[in-house]
Symmetry: C2
Subunit: 407 residues, 2 copies
Amino acid sequence: MGMNFLVGQSGGPTAVINSSLAGVYATARQSGAGKIYGMQYGIQGLLDEKLVDLDEKLGSNLSIELLKRTPSSYLGSCRYKLPTPEENEAVYHKLFALFAKYEIDAVLYIGGNDSMDTIAKLSAYGASIGSPIRFIGVPKTIDNDLMLTDHTPGFASAGKFIATITKELICDSNVYDLQSVTVAEIMGRHAGWLAACASLAKGDDCDGPDMILLPEVAFSTSRFLEQVEKIRREKNNIIIAASEGVKTEDGTFLCDLGGESGPLDAFGHKAALSGTSRYLAGLIQQHLGCKTRAIEFSTLQRCASHLTSRIDINESFQVGGAAVQAALNGETGRMSAIIRQSNVPYQSICQTVDVQAVANKEKVIPRSWISEDGTQLTAEFEAYARPLIQGEQLPIFVNGVPQHIRL
Amino acid sequence: MGMNFLVGQSGGPTAVINSSLAGVYATARQSGAGKIYGMQYGIQGLLDEKLVDLDEKLGSNLSIELLKRTPSSYLGSCRYKLPTPEENEAVYHKLFALFAKYEIDAVLYIGGNDSMDTIAKLSAYGASIGSPIRFIGVPKTIDNDLMLTDHTPGFASAGKFIATITKELICDSNVYDLQSVTVAEIMGRHAGWLAACASLAKGDDCDGPDMILLPEVAFSTSRFLEQVEKIRREKNNIIIAASEGVKTEDGTFLCDLGGESGPLDAFGHKAALSGTSRYLAGLIQQHLGCKTRAIEFSTLQRCASHLTSRIDINESFQVGGAAVQAALNGETGRMSAIIRQSNVPYQSICQTVDVQAVANKEKVIPRSWISEDGTQLTAEFEAYARPLIQGEQLPIFVNGVPQHIRL
């Protein structure tokens, strides 16, 4: 009798988190698993016993292909912070009772660093009570801010989309023979990985953004205006790619300087930063007096499954499958990670790492990958990121729009 | 000796305006044209004698393919309002002197209704002075608001992109087991054609937007809140697609109610409406107290050449070619238009129409194509729009991003 699996998705959606789910399901099924359950709406839904039998939902090969092409979390998600056992042991009693009821042998959780925190806590608690259940994390986040994995599934597709629309936006901005400044706002709370991908727009047919503002480089209004003024003397249409997380030396987000602030989420994070591009456009308008516009790339960055990286789709599938394999091998408290083997040609493998060392930490862009003046990325970043956006996975178009699968 | 052509692009960019330029160039070249000049930055650039010899730029077949895949206006654009001869005849003297200098036989102008106004004025002036030069308009606008053409080149690709990202956004919005309202703001100044395309997201895998707000239906706050409240009783996550041009009974744009207003362009149009989605999200937040977010689809709608409609790309090319043919036939003061032959199967042909009857007019969605309560589109709209978004033209990906061509 094969192992019974329970898999959930958590945190913000991405364009490829369902490819990891497909990797978990397909690998578990091919490995002779018993039951494969999905938790609806993550751990929070599990606490309400919202489980689905994935064999009933994903039984056909076409379903797997559609799942790989469906953005957001097929199973639904949550932003539930699992308390420590000291804070609330009853939650653990309830969860482990549910695991027992459904005879779960392995719990796989696909998500970002908060989700890895959940896996770390569950595996630690499981060990403390001598449970044989294996807890494995599957990384996911467009933000690329997880430790111990070369990059995170979801990052490359978001990066490819950002590079593509930045190129298109630059074409759009160059259209009039007028002075103009366009500020594009890109996701990324504390790490600038996604904004940095705007640099990948650059090629023989495109100059790329004139300036990229990252959370890793403290923002100075006077230096910024000097830099814009300098570029303005050389060219007509200026493009600035700005991370939503750009902040001043004292850590104040630009969007808060603009007076626009939002509520905190369950993890104490700012739920939705926005206003950075409008703040910057306002600043330029006020000081330099030229035409400006602010564009937020918005939620599309994380859900544009119509344009994904084939490398990312494949790796997302692989980390899901590798997590199943780790559970079969008896591992627990681990996260399936991507380990880069070489840049040229690009090759990677999956290995597991200690989930405790991933939980609640954030990886930022090394300062040496950013130009001295803080406004461009170096060749090291290009060598790191360019291979990840290679190849495309085409949607299955039905009636003119990409077909998805829903629960 | 073949005819000499001069072609320009004007008004806001689209994802396929360059496909029309490709159609003009390729058809003129194959028809044995003499010189084929492009005006840089439209009529405004022409007045500064900014001309390029297109044979030097577009000589290879690969260039034509890249041109069809490059968004925005390859030649550059302008928003120049040609004065009447009564207002400023010197401009006409200058333009016709330039036509004489370069021995131009036909002037083709790719643009929206303001550009058709330019062609109407030039052809009328030409006739008044007995000039043999032919002036032909080539329609272009994502807004689909031109008269006498079944639809406008550019509309279908923008509509396909909007339908696609609306589908993706709906997946994204359904991810949490929470009450939420998402308001997506879609381009369209006085006509709701683009916002209406959000309805094309609907299919067996997607319910489509719960409500679509159009400029064609006067906005009432109380009715709107009632409608949202009614939907909220039935489902958790609500999606509203709103045209940027939604206005109240007395004609006030919602974005102006929000206190955000913008400057007028050279045609007296509001240059950039924005704030409609934020206004609506604020309204819902205030009255219904649930989680809301406002998303602007922004400039991407008109420059997302990575996802275009194959029908649109082909027709854009054809109207360009048909304009060349009209000039060769000795026509002037005409616009090349798309005439639909049938819906099933979808077939269309190009014919010329009187450009005077197109200039400065706007076509809106028939009220009978909008549901009685004003929040959905009917089967008539579906029958009209669905065929137009069929098929895709794939980008040529180089180094992970779509390759473009630039002047």
